[in-house]
Protein backbone atom coordinates (compact mmCIF):
# COMPACT_ATOMS: atom_id res chain seq x y z
CA UNK A 1 0.00 0.00 0.00
CA UNK A 2 1.40 3.35 -1.05
CA UNK A 3 1.61 6.24 1.36
CA UNK A 4 -0.80 9.13 0.87
CA UNK A 5 2.09 11.35 -0.22
CA UNK A 6 3.18 8.79 -2.85
CA UNK A 7 -0.36 8.48 -4.22
CA UNK A 8 -0.68 12.24 -4.43
CA UNK A 9 2.70 12.63 -6.11
CA UNK A 10 1.70 10.06 -8.72
CA UNK A 11 -1.65 11.78 -9.24
CA UNK A 12 0.10 15.10 -9.87
CA UNK A 13 2.47 13.44 -12.34
CA UNK A 14 -0.49 11.81 -14.09
CA UNK A 15 -2.51 15.00 -14.57
CA UNK A 16 0.45 17.25 -15.34
CA UNK A 17 2.45 15.07 -17.71
CA UNK A 18 0.49 11.89 -18.38
CA UNK A 19 2.52 9.66 -16.04
CA UNK A 20 0.91 6.19 -15.76
CA UNK A 21 2.12 4.92 -12.35
CA UNK A 22 -1.13 5.84 -10.57
CA UNK A 23 -3.23 3.54 -12.79
CA UNK A 24 -2.28 0.47 -10.73
CA UNK A 25 -3.74 2.09 -7.57
CA UNK A 26 -7.17 2.77 -9.08
CA UNK A 27 -10.25 0.55 -8.97
CA UNK A 28 -11.52 -1.11 -12.12
CA UNK A 29 -14.64 0.18 -13.81
CA UNK A 30 -16.88 -1.67 -16.25
CA UNK A 31 -17.14 1.32 -18.59
CA UNK A 32 -13.72 2.97 -18.55
CA UNK A 33 -10.09 1.95 -18.12
CA UNK A 34 -8.00 3.62 -15.42
CA UNK A 35 -6.16 5.45 -18.18
CA UNK A 36 -9.41 6.81 -19.59
CA UNK A 37 -10.52 7.96 -16.14
CA UNK A 38 -7.23 9.73 -15.51
CA UNK A 39 -7.49 11.30 -18.95
CA UNK A 40 -10.61 13.15 -17.74
CA UNK A 41 -8.43 14.88 -15.13
CA UNK A 42 -5.51 15.37 -17.49
CA UNK A 43 -7.75 17.03 -20.04
CA UNK A 44 -9.32 19.28 -17.40
CA UNK A 45 -5.90 20.36 -16.12
CA UNK A 46 -4.67 21.06 -19.66
CA UNK A 47 -7.82 23.09 -20.29
CA UNK A 48 -7.32 25.15 -17.11
CA UNK A 49 -3.68 25.82 -17.83
CA UNK A 50 -4.26 26.72 -21.48
CA UNK A 51 -7.10 28.99 -20.32
CA UNK A 52 -4.91 30.65 -17.69
CA UNK A 53 -2.10 31.17 -20.20
CA UNK A 54 -4.52 32.54 -22.80
CA UNK A 55 -5.77 35.03 -20.19
CA UNK A 56 -2.20 36.18 -19.59
CA UNK A 57 -1.01 35.96 -23.21
CA UNK A 58 -3.97 36.78 -25.49
CA UNK A 59 -1.76 38.40 -28.15
CA UNK A 60 0.64 35.45 -28.28
CA UNK A 61 -2.43 33.29 -28.80
CA UNK A 62 -3.76 35.62 -31.53
CA UNK A 63 -0.36 35.67 -33.27
CA UNK A 64 0.21 31.93 -33.18
CA UNK A 65 -3.34 30.59 -33.45
CA UNK A 66 -5.30 28.60 -30.89
CA UNK A 67 -3.95 25.18 -31.89
CA UNK A 68 -0.30 26.20 -31.93
CA UNK A 69 -0.76 28.12 -28.68
CA UNK A 70 -2.37 25.15 -26.91
CA UNK A 71 0.42 22.82 -28.04
CA UNK A 72 3.03 25.37 -26.97
CA UNK A 73 1.47 25.64 -23.50
CA UNK A 74 1.59 21.83 -23.27
CA UNK A 75 5.33 21.91 -24.06
CA UNK A 76 5.87 24.75 -21.58
CA UNK A 77 4.06 22.83 -18.82
CA UNK A 78 6.42 19.86 -19.24
CA UNK A 79 9.36 21.94 -17.99
CA UNK A 80 7.44 24.33 -15.75
CA UNK A 81 5.44 22.93 -12.84
CA UNK A 82 3.07 25.31 -11.12
CA UNK A 83 4.53 26.20 -7.74
CA UNK A 84 1.78 28.48 -6.42
CA UNK A 85 -1.93 27.97 -5.73
CA UNK A 86 -2.40 31.31 -7.54
CA UNK A 87 -3.13 30.54 -11.19
CA UNK A 88 -2.46 34.22 -12.01
CA UNK A 89 1.26 33.80 -11.37
CA UNK A 90 1.70 30.80 -13.68
CA UNK A 91 3.54 31.54 -16.92
CA UNK A 92 6.26 33.90 -15.70
CA UNK A 93 8.91 32.03 -17.70
CA UNK A 94 6.99 31.93 -20.99
CA UNK A 95 9.00 34.69 -22.72
CA UNK A 96 12.28 32.94 -22.00
CA UNK A 97 10.78 29.62 -23.09
CA UNK A 98 9.58 31.16 -26.37
CA UNK A 99 13.03 32.63 -27.06
CA UNK A 100 14.37 29.06 -27.30
CA UNK A 101 11.27 27.47 -28.83
CA UNK A 102 12.32 26.30 -32.29
CA UNK A 103 8.79 26.07 -33.81
CA UNK A 104 8.26 29.80 -33.08
CA UNK A 105 11.52 31.10 -34.54
CA UNK A 106 9.76 32.64 -37.55
CA UNK A 107 8.22 35.15 -35.16
CA UNK A 108 11.38 36.59 -33.55
CA UNK A 109 9.44 39.31 -31.69
CA UNK A 110 7.29 36.74 -29.86
CA UNK A 111 9.41 36.65 -26.64
CA UNK A 112 9.28 40.45 -26.33
CA UNK A 113 5.50 40.46 -26.86
CA UNK A 114 5.30 37.81 -24.14
CA UNK A 115 7.31 40.01 -21.77
CA UNK A 116 4.94 42.89 -22.49
CA UNK A 117 1.88 40.73 -21.91
CA UNK A 118 3.27 39.33 -18.68
CA UNK A 119 4.01 42.84 -17.41
CA UNK A 120 0.43 43.88 -18.30
CA UNK A 121 -0.98 40.79 -16.58
CA UNK A 122 1.05 41.37 -13.41
CA UNK A 123 0.23 45.08 -13.37
CA UNK A 124 -3.45 44.15 -13.45
CA UNK A 125 -3.06 42.23 -10.17
CA UNK A 126 -0.48 44.56 -8.60
CA UNK A 127 -1.12 46.41 -5.34
CA UNK A 128 -3.21 49.57 -5.63
CA UNK A 129 -1.13 52.73 -5.68
CA UNK A 130 -1.11 55.12 -2.78
CA UNK A 131 0.66 58.27 -3.98
CA UNK A 132 2.61 60.15 -1.34
CA UNK A 133 2.09 63.85 -0.66
CA UNK A 134 4.95 65.47 -2.53
CA UNK A 135 4.49 69.03 -1.24
CA UNK A 136 6.97 68.38 1.59
CA UNK A 137 9.68 68.00 -1.03
CA UNK A 138 10.00 71.74 -1.55
CA UNK A 139 11.04 72.18 2.08
CA UNK A 140 14.14 70.00 1.60
CA UNK A 141 17.60 71.44 0.91
CA UNK A 142 19.23 70.61 -2.45
CA UNK A 143 21.61 68.20 -0.67
CA UNK A 144 18.70 66.42 1.03
CA UNK A 145 16.87 66.23 -2.29
CA UNK A 146 19.93 64.70 -3.98
CA UNK A 147 20.04 61.91 -1.39
CA UNK A 148 16.40 60.85 -1.93
CA UNK A 149 15.45 57.61 -3.59
CA UNK A 150 12.28 57.22 -5.65
CA UNK A 151 9.29 54.96 -5.03
CA UNK A 152 8.03 53.48 -8.26
CA UNK A 153 4.45 52.40 -8.86
CA UNK A 154 3.75 48.80 -7.74
CA UNK A 155 3.98 46.51 -10.75
CA UNK A 156 5.77 49.05 -12.96
CA UNK A 157 7.95 47.33 -15.57
CA UNK A 158 10.36 48.76 -18.16
CA UNK A 159 10.52 46.75 -21.40
CA UNK A 160 12.92 47.21 -24.29
CA UNK A 161 12.66 45.58 -27.68
CA UNK A 162 14.41 45.93 -31.02
CA UNK A 163 11.00 45.24 -32.62
CA UNK A 164 7.96 47.52 -32.85
CA UNK A 165 6.17 45.45 -30.20
CA UNK A 166 3.78 48.19 -29.10
CA UNK A 167 2.30 48.36 -32.60
CA UNK A 168 2.15 44.58 -32.91
CA UNK A 169 0.56 44.28 -29.48
CA UNK A 170 -2.01 47.01 -30.10
CA UNK A 171 -2.95 45.65 -33.53
CA UNK A 172 -3.49 42.13 -32.21
CA UNK A 173 -5.47 43.14 -29.16
CA UNK A 174 -8.05 44.90 -31.31
CA UNK A 175 -7.71 43.42 -34.80
CA UNK A 176 -5.87 40.10 -34.76
CA UNK A 177 -4.09 39.51 -38.05
CA UNK A 178 -3.16 43.11 -38.80
CA UNK A 179 0.43 42.49 -37.64
CA UNK A 180 1.37 41.35 -41.14
CA UNK A 181 1.21 44.99 -42.27
CA UNK A 182 3.71 46.19 -39.66
CA UNK A 183 7.31 46.53 -40.82
CA UNK A 184 9.78 44.93 -38.44
CA UNK A 185 12.52 47.23 -39.75
CA UNK A 186 11.06 50.40 -38.26
CA UNK A 187 13.16 50.02 -35.11
CA UNK A 188 12.75 49.22 -31.47
CA UNK A 189 10.93 50.75 -28.58
CA UNK A 190 11.09 51.28 -24.81
CA UNK A 191 7.83 50.71 -22.97
CA UNK A 192 6.56 51.43 -19.48
CA UNK A 193 3.80 49.16 -18.19
CA UNK A 194 1.95 50.20 -15.04
CA UNK A 195 -1.53 50.49 -13.59
CA UNK A 196 -2.22 54.05 -12.48
CA UNK A 197 -5.96 53.43 -12.12
CA UNK A 198 -8.29 50.55 -12.94
CA UNK A 199 -6.66 49.29 -16.12
CA UNK A 200 -2.98 48.70 -16.91
CA UNK A 201 -1.44 51.18 -19.37
CA UNK A 202 1.44 50.83 -21.80
CA UNK A 203 3.40 53.90 -22.92
CA UNK A 204 6.42 54.29 -25.21
CA UNK A 205 9.21 56.44 -23.78
CA UNK A 206 12.64 57.67 -24.90
CA UNK A 207 15.70 55.62 -24.01
CA UNK A 208 16.82 57.92 -21.21
CA UNK A 209 13.47 57.81 -19.42
CA UNK A 210 13.60 54.02 -19.55
CA UNK A 211 17.12 54.08 -18.14
CA UNK A 212 16.07 56.56 -15.46
CA UNK A 213 13.23 54.31 -14.27
CA UNK A 214 15.45 51.22 -14.33
CA UNK A 215 18.09 52.95 -12.21
CA UNK A 216 15.51 54.45 -9.88
CA UNK A 217 14.04 50.97 -9.39
CA UNK A 218 17.54 49.68 -8.59
CA UNK A 219 17.84 52.29 -5.82
CA UNK A 220 19.81 55.16 -7.38
CA UNK A 221 19.50 58.49 -5.53
CA UNK A 222 18.07 61.56 -7.18
CA UNK A 223 21.60 63.01 -7.26
CA UNK A 224 22.94 59.95 -9.10
CA UNK A 225 20.00 60.05 -11.49
CA UNK A 226 20.60 63.74 -12.22
CA UNK A 227 24.20 62.94 -13.13
CA UNK A 228 23.46 59.99 -15.41
CA UNK A 229 20.03 60.89 -16.83
CA UNK A 230 19.88 64.71 -16.70
CA UNK A 231 17.05 65.19 -19.18
CA UNK A 232 14.84 62.54 -17.63
CA UNK A 233 15.54 63.97 -14.17
CA UNK A 234 14.52 67.42 -15.40
CA UNK A 235 11.27 65.82 -16.53
CA UNK A 236 10.61 64.21 -13.15
CA UNK A 237 7.33 66.10 -12.69
CA UNK A 238 6.00 64.39 -15.81
CA UNK A 239 6.88 60.96 -14.42
CA UNK A 240 5.06 61.83 -11.20
CA UNK A 241 2.12 63.02 -13.30
CA UNK A 242 2.01 59.64 -15.04
CA UNK A 243 2.02 58.00 -11.58
CA UNK A 244 5.17 56.05 -12.47
CA UNK A 245 6.89 57.72 -9.52
CA UNK A 246 4.57 57.68 -6.54
CA UNK A 247 6.83 58.92 -3.77
CA UNK A 248 10.24 59.42 -2.26
CA UNK A 249 12.15 57.77 0.52
CA UNK A 250 14.95 59.35 2.47
CA UNK A 251 18.12 57.82 3.94
CA UNK A 252 17.31 54.20 3.34
CA UNK A 253 19.85 51.57 2.49
CA UNK A 254 19.99 50.60 -1.13
CA UNK A 255 17.57 47.77 -1.94
CA UNK A 256 19.32 44.59 -3.01
CA UNK A 257 17.14 44.24 -6.07
CA UNK A 258 14.63 46.31 -7.98
CA UNK A 259 11.40 45.09 -9.53
CA UNK A 260 11.79 42.55 -12.29
Amino acid sequence: MKTLAELQGEFLAAVWRGDTRLEAALTRSPTQTAAQRLAVYRSSVLGSMIGAMADAYPVIQALTGETFFAATVGRYMAGHPSTSPDLHVYGAGFAQFLSRFEPARDLPYLPDIARLEWAWHRAFHAADQSPQDLSQLAALSPAQQASLRLRLAPGLVVIRSVYPILEIWQANRSEPGRAAAISLDQGGVQLIVSRPGTAPEVHAVDAQTAQFLDRAAAGATLGELAATCPEATAGLAGLVQRAWIIGFKANESKPTSGPA
Binding site: Q8, L12, W16, L26, S48, S82, P85, H125
Partner: protein, 279 residues
Protein backbone atom coordinates in the same frame (compact mmCIF):
# COMPACT_ATOMS: atom_id res chain seq x y z
CA UNK B 1 -41.25 43.31 -5.36
CA UNK B 2 -41.34 40.09 -3.38
CA UNK B 3 -39.76 40.50 0.06
CA UNK B 4 -36.36 38.91 0.12
CA UNK B 5 -35.41 36.33 2.70
CA UNK B 6 -32.69 38.26 4.41
CA UNK B 7 -29.25 36.75 4.69
CA UNK B 8 -27.52 38.39 7.63
CA UNK B 9 -23.92 38.78 8.70
CA UNK B 10 -24.23 35.55 10.68
CA UNK B 11 -26.30 33.25 8.50
CA UNK B 12 -27.07 32.63 4.88
CA UNK B 13 -30.62 32.23 3.68
CA UNK B 14 -32.50 31.74 0.44
CA UNK B 15 -30.80 31.26 -2.90
CA UNK B 16 -27.50 32.76 -3.98
CA UNK B 17 -25.53 32.94 -7.21
CA UNK B 18 -21.91 32.26 -7.97
CA UNK B 19 -20.33 35.63 -8.80
CA UNK B 20 -18.62 35.63 -12.21
CA UNK B 21 -16.76 38.50 -13.90
CA UNK B 22 -19.03 38.71 -16.99
CA UNK B 23 -21.92 39.71 -14.67
CA UNK B 24 -20.11 42.37 -12.60
CA UNK B 25 -21.53 45.33 -14.50
CA UNK B 26 -25.06 43.96 -14.75
CA UNK B 27 -25.12 43.30 -10.99
CA UNK B 28 -23.86 46.76 -10.09
CA UNK B 29 -26.16 48.50 -12.60
CA UNK B 30 -29.34 46.52 -11.98
CA UNK B 31 -29.01 45.04 -8.49
CA UNK B 32 -30.86 41.82 -9.26
CA UNK B 33 -32.83 40.16 -6.51
CA UNK B 34 -30.28 37.64 -5.29
CA UNK B 35 -29.95 36.61 -1.65
CA UNK B 36 -26.17 36.48 -1.71
CA UNK B 37 -23.23 36.16 -4.06
CA UNK B 38 -20.54 33.55 -3.67
CA UNK B 39 -17.15 34.88 -4.78
CA UNK B 40 -14.42 32.47 -5.87
CA UNK B 41 -11.84 33.21 -3.20
CA UNK B 42 -8.85 32.61 -5.42
CA UNK B 43 -9.83 35.47 -7.75
CA UNK B 44 -9.61 37.98 -4.90
CA UNK B 45 -6.30 37.14 -3.23
CA UNK B 46 -4.06 39.44 -5.26
CA UNK B 47 -2.33 42.47 -3.74
CA UNK B 48 -4.70 44.87 -5.47
CA UNK B 49 -6.47 45.54 -8.72
CA UNK B 50 -9.92 46.10 -10.12
CA UNK B 51 -11.43 42.74 -9.10
CA UNK B 52 -11.04 43.59 -5.42
CA UNK B 53 -12.74 46.95 -5.90
CA UNK B 54 -15.64 45.35 -7.76
CA UNK B 55 -16.13 42.88 -4.93
CA UNK B 56 -16.03 45.77 -2.42
CA UNK B 57 -18.82 47.41 -4.40
CA UNK B 58 -20.93 44.24 -4.63
CA UNK B 59 -20.33 43.58 -0.92
CA UNK B 60 -21.91 47.00 -0.33
CA UNK B 61 -25.24 45.64 -1.61
CA UNK B 62 -25.19 41.89 -0.95
CA UNK B 63 -23.88 39.39 1.57
CA UNK B 64 -20.84 37.56 0.21
CA UNK B 65 -19.57 34.05 0.77
CA UNK B 66 -16.03 33.04 -0.15
CA UNK B 67 -15.51 29.72 -1.94
CA UNK B 68 -11.94 28.56 -2.42
CA UNK B 69 -10.07 26.00 -4.49
CA UNK B 70 -6.48 26.62 -3.39
CA UNK B 71 -6.17 25.43 0.22
CA UNK B 72 -5.32 21.86 -0.83
CA UNK B 73 -6.77 20.56 2.44
CA UNK B 74 -6.00 16.91 1.71
CA UNK B 75 -2.41 17.43 0.56
CA UNK B 76 0.63 16.05 2.35
CA UNK B 77 2.47 19.32 1.71
CA UNK B 78 2.59 21.84 4.55
CA UNK B 79 -0.34 24.27 4.54
CA UNK B 80 0.58 27.23 2.35
CA UNK B 81 1.06 30.08 4.82
CA UNK B 82 1.11 32.79 2.17
CA UNK B 83 -2.25 31.54 0.91
CA UNK B 84 -3.63 31.53 4.45
CA UNK B 85 -2.37 35.08 5.01
CA UNK B 86 -4.07 36.23 1.83
CA UNK B 87 -7.26 34.37 2.75
CA UNK B 88 -7.23 36.04 6.18
CA UNK B 89 -6.90 39.45 4.55
CA UNK B 90 -9.76 38.67 2.15
CA UNK B 91 -11.96 37.59 5.09
CA UNK B 92 -11.14 40.81 6.96
CA UNK B 93 -11.87 42.91 3.88
CA UNK B 94 -15.05 41.27 2.58
CA UNK B 95 -16.55 39.96 5.85
CA UNK B 96 -18.01 36.86 4.20
CA UNK B 97 -21.05 35.13 5.69
CA UNK B 98 -19.44 31.77 4.94
CA UNK B 99 -16.01 30.48 3.93
CA UNK B 100 -15.91 27.19 2.07
CA UNK B 101 -13.32 24.87 0.52
CA UNK B 102 -13.23 21.45 -1.11
CA UNK B 103 -12.55 18.06 0.41
CA UNK B 104 -9.72 17.18 -1.95
CA UNK B 105 -6.07 17.89 -2.64
CA UNK B 106 -4.70 20.07 -5.40
CA UNK B 107 -0.95 19.93 -4.76
CA UNK B 108 1.84 17.44 -4.07
CA UNK B 109 5.58 17.87 -3.71
CA UNK B 110 5.15 21.65 -3.85
CA UNK B 111 3.53 21.48 -7.28
CA UNK B 112 -0.04 22.59 -7.94
CA UNK B 113 -2.45 20.90 -10.34
CA UNK B 114 -5.18 23.58 -10.05
CA UNK B 115 -7.59 20.64 -10.11
CA UNK B 116 -9.77 19.25 -7.33
CA UNK B 117 -8.28 15.77 -6.97
CA UNK B 118 -10.01 13.09 -4.86
CA UNK B 119 -8.58 11.47 -1.74
CA UNK B 120 -8.48 7.77 -0.85
CA UNK B 121 -11.22 7.04 1.68
CA UNK B 122 -9.15 5.63 4.54
CA UNK B 123 -9.10 6.20 8.30
CA UNK B 124 -5.57 7.59 7.98
CA UNK B 125 -6.72 10.09 5.43
CA UNK B 126 -9.68 11.12 7.64
CA UNK B 127 -7.25 11.96 10.46
CA UNK B 128 -4.86 13.70 8.08
CA UNK B 129 -7.38 15.98 6.41
CA UNK B 130 -9.38 16.62 9.61
CA UNK B 131 -6.24 17.81 11.40
CA UNK B 132 -5.53 20.22 8.55
CA UNK B 133 -9.10 21.54 8.52
CA UNK B 134 -8.84 22.14 12.27
CA UNK B 135 -5.52 23.94 11.77
CA UNK B 136 -7.08 26.20 9.13
CA UNK B 137 -10.14 26.87 11.30
CA UNK B 138 -7.87 27.80 14.21
CA UNK B 139 -5.76 30.01 11.98
CA UNK B 140 -8.80 31.81 10.50
CA UNK B 141 -10.77 31.85 13.73
CA UNK B 142 -13.91 30.54 12.06
CA UNK B 143 -15.61 27.39 10.87
CA UNK B 144 -15.16 26.17 7.34
CA UNK B 145 -17.77 24.62 5.12
CA UNK B 146 -16.27 21.65 3.29
CA UNK B 147 -17.63 20.63 -0.09
CA UNK B 148 -17.82 17.10 -1.50
CA UNK B 149 -16.10 17.03 -4.93
CA UNK B 150 -17.13 15.13 -8.03
CA UNK B 151 -14.68 12.44 -9.06
CA UNK B 152 -13.77 10.17 -11.95
CA UNK B 153 -11.45 7.70 -10.21
CA UNK B 154 -11.53 5.75 -6.97
CA UNK B 155 -8.68 4.09 -5.11
CA UNK B 156 -8.17 0.43 -4.34
CA UNK B 157 -6.90 1.52 -0.91
CA UNK B 158 -10.25 3.06 0.07
CA UNK B 159 -11.81 1.33 3.09
CA UNK B 160 -14.80 3.67 3.56
CA UNK B 161 -17.57 4.81 1.27
CA UNK B 162 -17.38 8.44 0.17
CA UNK B 163 -20.27 9.33 2.49
CA UNK B 164 -18.63 7.56 5.46
CA UNK B 165 -15.38 9.36 4.72
CA UNK B 166 -17.12 12.72 4.44
CA UNK B 167 -19.11 12.19 7.66
CA UNK B 168 -15.98 11.11 9.54
CA UNK B 169 -14.03 14.17 8.38
CA UNK B 170 -16.88 16.53 9.35
CA UNK B 171 -17.06 14.94 12.78
CA UNK B 172 -13.33 14.82 13.46
CA UNK B 173 -12.64 18.32 12.10
CA UNK B 174 -15.85 19.74 13.60
CA UNK B 175 -16.64 21.66 10.44
CA UNK B 176 -19.78 22.13 8.35
CA UNK B 177 -20.81 20.65 5.02
CA UNK B 178 -21.43 22.38 1.75
CA UNK B 179 -23.32 19.61 0.00
CA UNK B 180 -22.87 19.90 -3.76
CA UNK B 181 -25.76 17.93 -5.20
CA UNK B 182 -24.41 18.05 -8.73
CA UNK B 183 -21.11 16.62 -7.53
CA UNK B 184 -22.98 13.99 -5.55
CA UNK B 185 -25.06 12.98 -8.57
CA UNK B 186 -22.03 12.97 -10.90
CA UNK B 187 -19.99 10.82 -8.51
CA UNK B 188 -22.92 8.48 -7.82
CA UNK B 189 -23.27 7.84 -11.56
CA UNK B 190 -19.53 7.58 -12.21
CA UNK B 191 -18.94 5.20 -9.29
CA UNK B 192 -22.33 3.52 -9.31
CA UNK B 193 -23.39 4.15 -5.72
CA UNK B 194 -26.81 4.93 -4.22
CA UNK B 195 -27.59 8.56 -3.48
CA UNK B 196 -30.15 7.64 -0.78
CA UNK B 197 -27.72 5.72 1.39
CA UNK B 198 -25.18 8.52 0.88
CA UNK B 199 -27.65 11.04 2.30
CA UNK B 200 -28.46 8.65 5.17
CA UNK B 201 -24.80 8.62 6.20
CA UNK B 202 -24.51 12.43 6.45
CA UNK B 203 -24.90 14.37 9.72
CA UNK B 204 -27.98 16.49 8.93
CA UNK B 205 -27.14 19.28 11.38
CA UNK B 206 -23.87 20.00 9.58
CA UNK B 207 -25.40 20.54 6.12
CA UNK B 208 -25.25 24.33 5.97
CA UNK B 209 -25.28 25.07 2.26
CA UNK B 210 -26.14 23.40 -1.03
CA UNK B 211 -24.56 23.87 -4.45
CA UNK B 212 -26.42 23.27 -7.70
CA UNK B 213 -24.87 23.20 -11.17
CA UNK B 214 -25.02 21.42 -14.50
CA UNK B 215 -22.98 18.44 -15.63
CA UNK B 216 -22.21 17.23 -19.15
CA UNK B 217 -23.07 13.67 -20.17
CA UNK B 218 -20.00 12.23 -21.90
CA UNK B 219 -21.56 8.82 -22.52
CA UNK B 220 -19.19 6.72 -20.44
CA UNK B 221 -19.08 9.24 -17.60
CA UNK B 222 -20.68 12.46 -16.35
CA UNK B 223 -18.37 15.48 -16.40
CA UNK B 224 -18.80 18.13 -13.71
CA UNK B 225 -18.66 20.93 -16.28
CA UNK B 226 -20.74 23.71 -14.68
CA UNK B 227 -21.62 24.67 -18.23
CA UNK B 228 -25.32 23.79 -18.48
CA UNK B 229 -28.53 24.35 -16.56
CA UNK B 230 -29.10 22.13 -13.53
CA UNK B 231 -30.32 18.77 -14.86
CA UNK B 232 -33.69 17.23 -13.89
CA UNK B 233 -32.21 14.41 -11.76
CA UNK B 234 -30.28 16.97 -9.72
CA UNK B 235 -33.43 19.12 -9.25
CA UNK B 236 -35.23 16.01 -8.13
CA UNK B 237 -32.42 15.20 -5.69
CA UNK B 238 -32.62 18.82 -4.49
CA UNK B 239 -36.35 18.46 -3.82
CA UNK B 240 -35.66 15.30 -1.81
CA UNK B 241 -32.98 17.02 0.25
CA UNK B 242 -35.09 20.14 0.88
CA UNK B 243 -38.07 18.01 1.96
CA UNK B 244 -35.83 16.07 4.27
CA UNK B 245 -33.72 18.87 5.78
CA UNK B 246 -35.64 22.08 5.07
CA UNK B 247 -34.72 25.14 3.00
CA UNK B 248 -30.94 24.96 3.36
CA UNK B 249 -29.30 28.03 1.76
CA UNK B 250 -28.64 27.06 -1.85
CA UNK B 251 -26.47 28.42 -4.60
CA UNK B 252 -26.37 28.19 -8.41
CA UNK B 253 -22.91 27.80 -10.00
CA UNK B 254 -22.08 28.26 -13.69
CA UNK B 255 -18.46 28.38 -14.89
CA UNK B 256 -18.10 27.50 -18.55
CA UNK B 257 -20.06 29.04 -21.45
CA UNK B 258 -21.41 31.49 -18.88
CA UNK B 259 -24.82 32.84 -19.98
CA UNK B 260 -26.23 36.31 -19.29
CA UNK B 261 -27.41 36.93 -15.74
CA UNK B 262 -31.17 36.40 -16.42
CA UNK B 263 -30.54 32.71 -17.18
CA UNK B 264 -28.93 32.30 -13.76
CA UNK B 265 -31.76 34.23 -12.11
CA UNK B 266 -34.22 31.75 -13.68
CA UNK B 267 -32.23 28.87 -12.21
CA UNK B 268 -32.31 30.58 -8.81
CA UNK B 269 -36.10 31.00 -9.15
CA UNK B 270 -36.47 27.26 -9.74
CA UNK B 271 -34.53 26.59 -6.52
CA UNK B 272 -36.71 29.10 -4.63
CA UNK B 273 -39.83 27.45 -5.97
CA UNK B 274 -38.64 24.06 -4.71
CA UNK B 275 -37.76 25.57 -1.33
CA UNK B 276 -41.16 27.25 -1.02
CA UNK B 277 -43.09 24.19 -2.12
CA UNK B 278 -41.37 22.15 0.58
CA UNK B 279 -42.04 24.73 3.30
Amino acid sequence: MRPRQEATAETLAGVGLGLRAPHYQDILDNRPEVDWFEALTDNYLSDGGPALRVLDAIRGHYPISLHGVGLSLGSCDPLNQDYLDRLSRAIARFEPVAVSEHLCFTSAGGHYSHELLPLPYTEDCVRHVAARIRAVQDRLGRRLLIENVSSYVSFQDSQLSEAQFLAAVLDEADCDLLLDLNNLYVSACNHDFEVESYLDALPAQRIRQIHLAGYTDRGDHLLDSHGEPVHPPVWSLYATVVQRYGAIPSLIEWDTDIPALPTLLEEADKARYIQQRAA
